[in-house]
């Protein structure tokens, strides 16, 4: 009886030890990418300033020539940013789902209202997103060249946000979606006519891992 009890206690302890070990592994696996991502919210302003300025080398430091304006500082940060773009790796998805996600939506001039076509496209995107819960999306807002630069940046934000809010209404978690406005900086069609402008007033959807 005593021996049986001892064995039972030993088994419970062993299983418990195993479970604790596994849990630790899980925490480690989870915490690593968080550090790598270097989320701005986890850093103070001072940290950001330090990071930004520590990368800075003026031309005078590099070449010995006095040049009060020239800065090569952000070349390093730009390289980092370019590396960031490599994060966009499409997960294994059926072609149909990929096509659905990639479909653009379009807007009227100086408008961020979702028309019926746009809503239909977003509904189908939502279906894909619900089916594949590991997918995260960046919604890019774009404008045509007719508006002015700064206002187009704001309008692009509103266009991206319109799609973002609609997808949330359709049940997609907010932390799977992010938005960015490119204003008029990345036209799809470089021509200067109504056909090109209509193409350029759009939201694009990019999958991010």
């Amino acid at each position: 009886m005593c021996k049986k009890l001892f064995l039972q206690v030993l088994t419970v302890l062993f299983v418990g030890f195993l479970l604790v070990g596994c849990a630790k592994k899980k925490i480690n696996n989870y915490s690593q990418p968080t550090v790598k991502e270097n989320q701005p919210s986890a850093l103070t302003q001072e940290d950001l300033t330090k990071n930004a300025t520590s990368n800075i080398k003026t031309e005078s430091e590099e070449t010995g020539n006095v040049n009060e304006y020239a800065v090569k500082s952000e070349e390093i940060s730009s390289e980092n940013l370019n590396k960031e773009s490599n994060k966009f790796v499409l997960p294994v998805l059926p072609e149909v789902a990929k096509k659905e996600i990639k479909k653009r939506i379009h807007f009227a001039f100086d408008s961020y209202e979702l028309n019926d076509d746009a809503k239909e496209i977003l509904k189908k995107k939502a279906e894909v997103l619900l089916k594949y819960p590991s997918i995260k999306l960046v919604i890019e807002g774009h404008c045509d060249e007719r508006g002015t630069e700064e206002y187009n940046l704001a309008l692009g934000e509103r266009r991206a946000r319109a799609a973002y809010e609609y997808l949330i209404m359709l049940g997609i978690e907010a932390d799977r979606l992010s938005i960015v406005s490119y204003g008029e900086e990345r036209p799809l069609d470089p021509r200067h006519n109504e056909e090109a402008w209509a193409k350029n007033r759009r939201d694009e959807f990019k999958i991010v891992n």
């Binding site: 850093l43 003026t58 304006y69 020239a70 773009s85 002015t148 700064e150 704001a154």
Partner: protein, 442 residues
Amino acid sequence: MKKIFIIILLFVFFLHYNIGFSQKNILHLNILEPGQPQLNITVIPPIFLEPKEDYDNSTKELVNKFYHIFLNNLSYLPFLNLINPDELVGGKKINGVTLRDIDFKKFALNKIDFLITIGWKIIEKQNIKIEVRTFDVYTPSFYLGRGYIINKIVHTYLAANKFCAGFMKKLTGKSGFFQSKIAFVKRLKDGSKNLFISTPQGYLPKQITFLKNIVLSPAWSWDGKKLVFTYLSNNQHKLLLWSEGHIKNIFIPGNTIISPNFTPKGEIVVSSDMKGNPDIYLLDEKFKIKKALISSWAIDISPSFDKRGDRMAYVSSIYGNPNIFLYDFKNKKTVRVSYIGKYNTNPCISSNGKYIVYSTLTEKGHRIVLANLKTFEEKIITNGPGNDEHPVFGPDNYFIAFTSNRSGIYKIYITTKDGTKPMLVNTGDGEATSVAWSKTYF
């Protein structure tokens, strides 16, 4: 005793009369008031001041370079009508560069108001001494003279700018144009857009950022030591601060960072969508959000301040379309400024708080509008073709820089608040946009 008193009285009267007379003779223009006359001016090509012409070609080229930069400088001043000396009746010949060497009657008959002479000679160590003199032809009298020692191309720009600044100061009371700087965004061959600084004519350009993506909306601090701007990188907007060769990344919440600017106190103001809409926020000296200045359900962007910091012009789409508004910090009241058209953006308030310039979308493209903040009258001051956008006042509140694609590609042009003929700023090849004009003199 009475005699002495009368003599003193006569002497004072004589002195006063003479001073008054000489003051009346000094030509002066109030460029901020409308209806100023255009003065005819001619610049005689440089004259070598030594008897024996012993110099090499490179020296002569440097002097000619100075002459052409000098002429180009004067061409930016719309109140001067530059007359080609080769077209003067009776010819351009003068016997020397000083007052006694010149027959002013010939120039008066040609209706010249100002005559400028340039004399030069070589002094030790390959230095060139350039003497520039301006004469009032009708008096005739000496108006302004300066000497410069130059020995390389950069000196020719600096000397020409210094003289023109002095000349403009004496003529109009304002020298800002030639002592200020502009910042602008230039698209490079690799597709990136980076920040440059130059004089308002495009002289001595320097690239100050070397980023791989897109720089937008630079704005000068009021002391001219800093520039704040938006950086559009992959999937991220950043607020960057350039200061004496260093760039700081300022983190503020929100996905979209638009149209940062400085208050006269040196605080940064920026539009961010941290609460779901682009609203205008004031940052403190540690770059933390101090408070929202303008917050609504609509798009609120593009803040611009007068010198006192009492009033802020901005864009809001609160009535559906983007329009220009003016917020008064003292009485906490907002007034709508723009009533022309339905798409009004890019406001810039003059530092004296008298005017706002902005761009309005017409059927023929964007045009620049000048709004008088006393009468609230609005006047379109550019006429394209193409789009005229993003106007900014120079530090003198007279000149206005803007971007236009009238030549087929976006470039920077300079006009005045009176809508004078726009002058192209030479920014080299490629697109140049987002011009910001320093609010101080260098």
